[in-house]
């Protein structure tokens, strides 16, 4: 649960329609979705993630439609982890459920600039900006969400529930 990479920054209220436009929702194939991820917002996204794969965004990231295709497309594009000032609630659930690491950093998001080398340590609850030397403590997830994350998503959580006989 440690991720290191360069920051790719976008602003507030990035909606799921720009993360993956509806015209591509006639498939559930992650690879195909990744081909069009963020293209309406930033046509150079596919190029940029080759160098920068920690997404650093503003408020209300993932607002709008409930399409799980949005976190799936980001994950399949190669995004390692998303740091946001805040997440829209359905996106937040979806990311946790599919095992895409996300973290809220409400008070220091502006201290990370595009291209900065970032280290996110979910075990110690720490985000470090290795270029500036600054580090930020992250609020830990509540136990239930931690449990879902540790199991690798809601699907594995469900499988264990069946194994445990709790139907």
């Amino acid at each position: 649960m440690i991720y290191e990479g360069r920051a790719l920054c976008y602003g507030d209220n990035i909606d799921t329609d720009v993360i993956i436009p509806a015209r591509y929702l006639n498939t559930t194939d992650p690879k195909e979705l990744a081909l069009h991820c963020m293209e309406d917002l930033d046509p150079l996204f596919k190029e940029k993630i080759k160098e920068k794969n920690i997404l650093v965004v503003g408020e209300n990231f993932g607002c709008g439609s409930s399409r799980e295709h949005a976190p799936i497309a980001l994950k399949a594009s190669g995004i390692q982890c998303i740091i946001a000032k805040s997440f829209a609630r359905i996106f937040y659930r979806n990311a946790i459920n599919i095992g895409l690491p996300i973290i809220e950093l409400p008070f220091a998001i502006e201290k990370i600039k595009e291209g900065d080398l970032i280290k996110v340590n979910f075990i110690e609850g720490l985000i470090e900006n290795l270029d500036t030397g600054e580090s930020f403590k992250i609020k830990p997830f509540p136990p239930l969400i931690q449990d879902i994350i540790n199991k690798g998503g809601l699907l594995n959580f469900a499988k264990e529930r069946i194994k445990g006989g709790k139907l």
Partner: protein
Amino acid sequence: MGYTITEKILLKHTNSKEISPGDLIFVKVDFVLANDITAPLAIKEFKKIGVERVFDVERIALIPDHYTPNKDIKSAQQVKEMREFAREQGIKYLYDGGMVGIEHALLPDEGLVLPGDCIIGADSHTCTYGALGAFSTGVGSTDLAYAMAFGEIWLRVPESIKVIFKGKISKWISGKDLILYTIGKIGVDGARYKALEFTGEVIRHLSMSDRFTICNMAIEAGAKNGIIEPDEITLEYVKSRAKRRFEIFYSDKDANYKEIYEWDVSNLEPMVAFPHLPSNVYPISEVVKRNIYIDQVYIGSCTNGRLEDLRIAAMILKGKKINPNLRLIITPATPSIYMSALREGLIEIFLSSGAIITPPSCGPCLGGHLGVLAEGEKAISTTNRNFVGRMGHPKSEVYLSNPAVAAASAILGRIAAPWEVEVKE
């Protein structure tokens, strides 16, 4: 300390003796739904869980309303998967072919979602059913798979925000204007993770249609759910439709609210949301001064495709022709609304004015099919989102309004106020 209506419904659906905002709980669901974008993914995930049967074949609706009638081979494949899954599992409510209606207009009308229910849907506008006095929220496909398997879901108990509308609204003001005004005031994340409860004398006089419109767009303020306490109007709507028993809940007098907004909306004008956020709102009198010429007008969707919306549009369009520089596309939200519109002569008014009538579908609202915008085009639409590329090309623009403003704009070719058009009632 008392409970809000949202908290009471959640409490009723959990094993906990008491709950408070911030708690993570598992709740039993009364009804779940998915559409042709979200269901295929949910079915794929459901099959991986290892449960053989869904939790209850009478409490699941599968509604292929987004890309139907299927626009291409891939979308036809997706609907085929849904159909096969529904048959294999014996799911009672598959709305296919000529039964397809826009889910959030269809399910309340079918009496499948009811007051006091806990409902989850793999569609963000599932919050619409809060207008019935139900807890109803949108989730993704994996959540839906889990709910189809176990009949429950994990939720964080939301804090509540109360919005009180006071005064008396004037002619041409509808639920759409009240919710656009609200989003303009509190912002697109003003109710993030929270319950948005609407009340006040203005709400008590609104039709169910307007109440659905308001709760439909609670998500556009980031809310987990929108909700309105039931009253005689709710019960009148529900009693002839309900397919099962239901329970009524009200907020306690001493319930706790994170925020309370109280607005006198007596002088409220029709509101228009400018690109590219639903919170970017202006009153129509300011908008008309800007002479915004448009290429397309859309009247429809889970927000404003109900019979009452079509009646308003018809009242304005009756005996008139639309501006030749634009297309007017109208979508009755369900087959039953379509039939009523036909019987009442609304469809004839629309066709005579030069409008295009589509079958019930979500297509145009999300830039899917049946009326996609080209580069640089502008549309005024009765839908709920005006994000970049929402209705087509990333360089197209969407303005959101109520049906009266949309219909008047179709005649004048620019964003117009309803009173600019002569209306015979």
